[in-house]
Symmetry: C2
Subunit: 136 residues, 2 copies
DNA sequence: CGCTTCGTACGATAGTCGTCGTAGTACGGT
DNA sequence: ACCGTACTACGACGACTATCGTACGAAGCG
């Protein structure tokens, strides 16, 4: 599977919103791929994991940013961090530190810009499958 | 990643559609997952490999069944077989022996039935990305 | 029948992935 | 200053994956 070298430091240091409410504490910056850096294969791979798909679905349902600790996943903290990192590095979500918490938000605009209709189709498919399998 | 252990030989030996275009020479039968057995995560995982995505794209573009040897992939025969198997076992394609050749066809009906709009969105996204990246 | 073509099966190997535990860093409250 | 909370980093481990090479089976053609 090739590999989106995560090493490259600089770049992609822009926050979209600027968080005007308070002082915008961006002491720690996290490396995000720029929109043009997002690869379809990476997105599909990120979403091919049940845990990650679940995270994305919840994020989409809420429509807002959620902290990592908000999710009640059946894995340890380390693993959770790992999954969020995969999602961030593939360009599916964006993460910003907010004090001690880290807020995760879907990069819906970027995804829709690159692949119109894909995210909705994916989310719809996931909802359908959850309904189909969970409808016991 | 768990799930779908392919190791077990027997099992899942049902063809769903049967899709009998012609005389259907089914001397050697290949195990396909039934429509209800297809899992979104499996499909996404299958499509997250560049080689396999390319195969599916070509299959969709032609709209017909193609033999394995039709594809000119930068890997050996063994690896090609492997990729086609992953695609078949995830429910993305169906394979039928036709004399010495093996015809591969997209399971568009099943996929559309399970996840309406997903395949088209995926194909569209792949086309867009190919255009974006290959537009050098 | 022998030979070629098409594809499979069976290792083998190197790399990636998901998972964990432990230790560590950053921020905020008391 | 101290401690708790939130998340990370690193190392490890087992499982899976992509790739290969070689050997094999099945269908068709001379």
């Amino acid at each position: 599977m090739d590999g989106t070298r995560r090493g490259s430091p600089g770049e992609a240091a822009r926050r979209s919103g600027a968080t005007v409410t308070s002082a915008a504490v961006n002491s720690r910056d996290l490396p995000h791929p720029a929109r043009a850096e997002i690869r379809l294969e990476g997105v599909l791979h990120a979403l091919s994991d049940p845990l990650r798909l679940r995270i994305v679905r919840e994020l989409a349902a809420v429509g807002d940013e959620l902290s990592c600790s908000h999710f009640d996943l059946p894995v340890t903290k380390s693993t959770t961090t790992h999954h969020f990192r995969v999602l961030r590095e593939s360009g599916v979500i964006q993460q910003n530190y907010r004090g001690t918490a880290k807020l995760n938000g879907l990069r819906k605009d970027d995804l829709d810009g690159l692949f119109p209709g894909l995210l909705d189709a994916l989310l719809g498919a996931a909802a359908r499958e959850a309904d189909r399998l969970g409808g016991a």
